[in-house]
């Protein structure tokens, strides 16, 4: 049957076609892929590109479109798949009108050099150098082609892989230095443990423009992964999440600042493909700039581990309040959403007490809360009185808001919302009363 198919001119079948869809390539690509097939057998970091490309082409054989692929504009059949090391553009061709389609590779673009120079989002291994007391001593290593367990961390339930997703920072080296504090949630003992095993950094390139930098969250405020590099990054990240899922690895994703956008978008891509990670992965958002309500819905939709009581931590700065689509509502919306949609009937009363209890300390509600209340009432069908009471608990002091918006203050992980104020206070205290 297959031999009678009419092949598009210049295309021939690549590799075995027994499993999944057939992959068709032009003669030129055929020669190139054969070359890579040979190179990929040599164990060396030089075969990085080769391994990326061979596994990428093979991934196209699966029956559904991969999570890191997207449809090109204007064509229903032209798709592009994105990895950190390459991009492949392909056409889905259906000869017989049946469900089976063939894949025609139109173009293969290498981006390995760009990702090796941190110009493109990629996954890196970061270790701690004892001599220089320094994180992220990168010495010409290539980014990871595939997410997998390391020599020190297996990715099992007791030893989950720790992966950080950076937001705004000075660059790669700075990101590698900032993230450990957030991955370990500001715990000294956990940081010491992390030093001995290292972690992986999903580095999202930052905008290198000093006037825009640090304030891009205002532009992207509330939107999920709007800018081009973030979209690309989230596709690559979604690919890695899927890889972890396929291998059954336990992973903890920690995002810092704008990294939350990439992380949320990646989860949504997985959601679109109806992937359920069966509680093996979980997320933590630190100083996130996009709504954690959105994150909560996405993580529940793809079956992430949601049992941790804290899964986000932020000093409510401008970025978090504005970028987080009115931050206060997000945390409330999460608990209500958790209550209404994700709580078993018999646990309901207890949970209600918890939500209510957190709110019980309510301050005075102001008129500014009106739109928020309206939103709550409409999205969750609550009584307006209840909505008013809970929004009142979200009073934020002006000092805290201003202080924690300053990038130089929120490099470090803040354990409580008052940490920033405490830091300011400590600074002035040290000036007045010198430590002995």
């Amino acid at each position: 049957m297959s031999s009678t198919r009419i092949l598009a001119s210049g295309f021939s079948r690549y590799g075995s076609s027994n499993n999944g869809r057939s992959v068709m390539v032009s003669d030129q690509h055929q020669t190139m892929l054969d070359g890579f097939q040979q190179i990929s057998k040599i164990p060396s970091s030089q075969s990085y590109h080769a391994l990326v490309i061979t596994s990428a082409v093979n991934s196209l054989r699966s029956s559904s479109s991969p999570v890191n692929s997207f449809a090109k504009n204007g064509s229903p059949t032209r798709r592009c798949i994105v990895f950190s090391g390459c991009e492949i553009e392909y056409e889905l061709v259906n000869y017989h009108g049946g469900p089976q389609t063939d894949v025609h590779i139109v173009d293969i673009r290498f981006t390995g050099d760009d990702s090796q120079h941190a110009k493109r989002a990629a996954l890196w291994r970061v270790s701690f150098d004892n001599a220089s007391q320094d994180w992220g001593v990168f010495k010409g290593q290539a980014p990871e082609r595939q997410l997998k367990g390391t020599d020190t961390v297996a990715g099992t339930i007791s030893q989950p892989l720790e992966i950080g997703v950076n937001g705004f920072c000075d660059g790669f080296v700075h990101a590698a230095e900032i993230l450990p504090a957030h991955i370990t949630r500001g715990e000294a003992a956990a940081e010491d443990a992390l030093k001995s095993v290292g972690y992986q950094l999903f580095y999202v390139p930052v905008e290198k423009n000093s006037t825009k930098a640090g304030w891009t969250f205002l532009r992207d405020m509330g939107r999920t992964a709007e800018n081009k590099s973030n979209i690309q990054a989230s596709r690559i990240l979604a690919g890695h999440m899927k890889e972890a899922h396929d291998q059954g690895l336990y992973v903890e994703w920690t995002s810092h600042r704008g990294g939350s956008q990439v992380l949320i978008q990646a989860m949504k891509l997985l959601q679109r493909h109806r992937i359920n990670v069966q509680g093996k992965q979980k997320i933590f958002l630190s100083d996130h700039t996009s709504s954690h309500f959105e994150a909560d819905q996405a993580r529940r939709a793809i079956g992430m581990d949601v049992r941790d009581s804290t899964w986000y931590n932020a000093t409510p700065g401008i970025a978090q309040i504005m970028g987080g689509q009115s931050f206060g509502v997000a945390s409330l919306a999460c608990s209500i959403d958790g209550l209404l949609n994700h709580t078993k009937r018999e646990e309901m009363p207890g949970k209600v007490v918890m939500v209510g209890g957190g709110v019980g300390a309510a301050a005075v509600a102001t008129n500014k809360m009106a739109p928020v209340v309206a939103q709550l009432v409409s999205s969750f069908a609550l009584t307006p009185a209840f909505a008013w009471a809970i929004t009142a608990a979200l009073g934020l002091s002006g000092v805290r808001l201003a202080a924690s918006s300053v990038p130089s203050f929120n490099n470090k992980y803040h354990k409580g919302t008052k940490d920033v104020v405490a830091q300011l206070a400590n600074k002035s205290f040290n000036k007045l009363v010198p430590p002995k």
């Binding site: 220089s132 007391q133 010495k139 660059g171 700075h174 504090a181 590099s229």
Partner: protein, 333 residues
């Protein structure tokens, strides 16, 4: 200086600096340094003990070479670590880099019986041996831009030793040198001096600079100047006082009588090292860097000529105040 700038970040204040004292089996070492402060790490550095027994074998651990194997005959003990952040304009820049220090005592077990570390040429030899095994041999597999290039090169991560000289600080003579990192990672400054026949003190300072568009060792030079970092390191070193124990002092006297005219051999890197370093530094000059007006998703490397000129300038000797006249090169003695 009230505020730092991105170009010249402000060093930590010395106002609350205190003298830190270490007792190494009767040899008293002390220096003045401000309290450690790291903007990222949760645990602060500087919690080492004040007393170290040089004779005890338990206090020392085997020194590891670049390939993680043990170096035979060399043991090492940490006596002090510190970490200080440098800041630019308040609120705008915040963190611009840091100096981290790591002071160690190295113990040489396999020294010939008639040699003593108080002999400068023996000290220089030992320092170089250790440096060669740890830093000069710190190689990494080169990455190539061409996906079909399968040649496997080993590239150095650092160019060292450069600007080597002998300096007197607090009654002792120190051998001083710097290194230039080529791929990434901090640049180091190393000071070493003998404190007994078999032990020498080695003070490593790691200078790390951070800027928005300076992701690699070549580009960071154009963003943040080294001057304030160096000045801070020198300030700590200027405050060093070493009071040798009676037995060490007797040994020092003995060597002084035996070799009245001590030579001060300097360490240097070879021409091959420099040539390779130019290539490596150029390769990474596009790492995490965007040139204005160019496509930010493509790698933009510097002009090889500029990189070469920078390294040529970098390896020129720059005598520090009070340095001794240059002695012969180590390999020529």
């Amino acid at each position: 200086m009230l505020f730092g700038t991105r170009r010249n970040p402000k060093a930590p204040s010395y106002r609350h600096a205190k003298r830190i004292k270490k007792d190494l089996s009767g040899t008293l070492v002390s220096f003045v340094a401000p309290d450690s402060y790291s903007p990222f790490a949760i645990r602060q550095a500087g919690d080492e003990g004040d007393i170290l027994d040089l004779a005890s074998i338990d206090c020392f651990k085997q020194e590891l070479a670049a390939d993680k194997t043990e170096i035979p005959g060399v043991r090492v003990a940490t006596i002090y670590t510190g970490s200080w952040a440098f800041r630019g304009l308040p609120l705008l820049h915040g963190y611009c880099g840091s100096v981290k220090c790591h002071f160690e005592v190295k113990r040489v077990d396999d020294l010939p019986i008639n040699e003593s570390l108080f002999d400068n040429s023996v000290l220089a030899q030992e320092v170089y041996k250790s440096l060669e095994l740890t830093v000069i041999n710190d190689l990494h597999e080169a990455s190539s831009s061409d996906p079909f290039d399968m040649t496997s090169y080993q590239w150095p991560s650092y160019l060292t030793p450069i600007n080597c000289q002998w300096l007197p600080r607090g009654d002792s003579e120190w051998v001083y040198f710097e290194d230039q990192s080529l791929a990434s990672g901090p640049s180091a400054i190393t000071w070493s001096t003998a404190i007994s026949e078999r032990h020498y003190l080695i003070c490593n300072y790691y200078i790390k600079r951070s800027a928005l568009n300076g992701g690699n060792p070549y580009r960071i030079e154009q963003c943040v100047s080294r001057d304030n970092f160096l000045a801070f390191v020198h300030k700590i070193m200027d405050s060093f006082k070493i009071e040798l124990s009676p037995s060490a002092k007797a040994e020092q006297e003995r060597v002084r009588i035996q070799i009245p005219q001590q030579s001060r051999p300097v360490l240097s890197c070879s021409a091959e090292q420099v040539a390779l370093a130019k290539r490596v530094l150029h390769h990474y000059s596009g790492f995490d860097y965007n040139e204005k007006g160019k496509d930010p998703s493509k790698v933009q490397r510097a002009d090889p000529k500029d990189v070469a000129a920078f390294l040529e300038e970098r390896i020129k000797p720059r005598p520090l105040p009070g340095s001794y006249a240059n002695g012969p090169a180590l390999n020529e003695t």
